[in-house]
Amino acid sequence: MNVLTPRELPELFAALAAPGARVLAGGTDLLVRLRADLRQGRKVPSSLVRLDGLEELCGVAREPDGALRLGAATTHAGLLAHPLVRVELPVLAAALADLGSPPIRNMGTLGGNLCTASPAGDTLPPLMVLGASVELASAAGVRRMALADFITGPGRTRLAPGEIVTAVLAPSAREFAVRHFEKVGRRSALAVAVVSLAALLRLDARGKAVEARLAWGSVGPTVWRCPEAEAALLGQRPTLTALKRAAAVVRARVQPIDDLRASAAYRSEVAGNLLLRLAAL
């Protein structure tokens, strides 16, 4: 495999046009997969095109509409270290803080996490409740789409051939009084999510929810939303009673699967239970 390090976007697009070329960001997903492919004698890409030579893909900036622009090739550690991310996107920061391990956070990137589109991808539930969108670019131009539209299934995205994610645009969550992320893994570091929950509640002056946004990871082929549970919280204070009612809705609707890490029954129960934590915040 050749490894290319373009310095400008046009150069990058040209490199990606070659047959069998593949984007290499932090490599924490891709190189693990390539190793397995090589062990099994499967085909590997002809060339890997690095993203870390392009400065415009890294860093955090404010968009004119107030949203934060997160460069797709920014590492998880880079995002975590950024004060704007910590203050305005605490749900995302909480997910990043528990993603993988320190070296994985030093290497892995946000764009890589989105494009891997794992059902257990830790940044996905927070970005979903934030209402984030992605900016895509190719030789043909730039386009934007909602993250919810971008990810179509496990490992599947709307990325066109020759296209990359350049940035994630995430509106601030400042007006949400309740901002919560919890990942349940089998251990406290280096753990793939068994269930995760990202939650944002906007409360009125009396503490009642006027908007609820909930998103779960690892309970379906991709991030799972539950509008019925969100609706059940509206007009309520996030008390244990109210949350229990919403949790019952969740358990009734969620349809997870069994895998090595947990059974479907466990996932269903915990998907509901995690809502109760909001009562203790």
Binding site: M1, V3, L31, V32, R35, L48, S101, P103, I104, M107
Partner: protein
């Protein structure tokens, strides 16, 4: 490709396959046998090196990604005559058993102390949580990093007094 980077303070120039894993390049071509491999999939941290001061996993890096970088391995942190405070503390505080995780662990700890000279115990736990150790239960590793932080602070105090 022609590759050039700084390894443990010395500039190395060599011809390498760009897709060679960094861990193989370091160990097999450059004799950096202090860099270990325990999994090849990012799960154990034994292959940790500092790249421009940041802990990375050389099993998930390719040769081309070292170009122009500054790479420090455990052997580059200190020597027998002048060990890095982390290395000395590891030895003194019993943080080393089989020692196979130790080079990577020392790299992680040194990386932490460069960034956070006075970490709390919990910070240390987090900082080494990407480095598996099957022998120690981590207690003495964390003790050692605390001790190294104290020594570094004392040293700094001294140099500041001297000024």
């Amino acid at each position: 490709m022609k590759l050039s980077f700084i390894l443990n303070g010395a500039t190395v120039r060599l011809d390498a396959e760009p897709d060679r894993r960094a861990v193989d390049l370091l160990r097999e071509e450059l004799g950096a046998l202090d860099v270990k491999e325990g999994c090849g999939t990012g799960e154990c941290g034994a292959c940790s090196v500092l790249v421009d001061g940041v802990q990375k996993l050389s099993c998930l890096m390719l040769a081309a990604q070292l170009e122009g970088r500054t790479v420090v391995t455990a052997a580059g942190l200190g020597t027998a005559e002048k060990p890095h405070p982390v290395q000395r503390a590891f030895a003194e505080h019993g943080a080393v058993q089989c020692g196979f995780c130790t080079p990577g662990m020392a790299v992680a700890a040194a990386g932490l102390l460069a960034e956070n000279p006075a970490p709390a115990r919990e910070d240390i736990r987090r900082a080494v949580s990407g480095n598996l150790c099957r022998c120690t239960g981590y207690v003495k590793i964390i003790d050692a990093v605390e001790a190294a932080a104290r020594e570094l602070a004392a040293r700094k105090g001294k140099t500041e007094d001297a000024r």
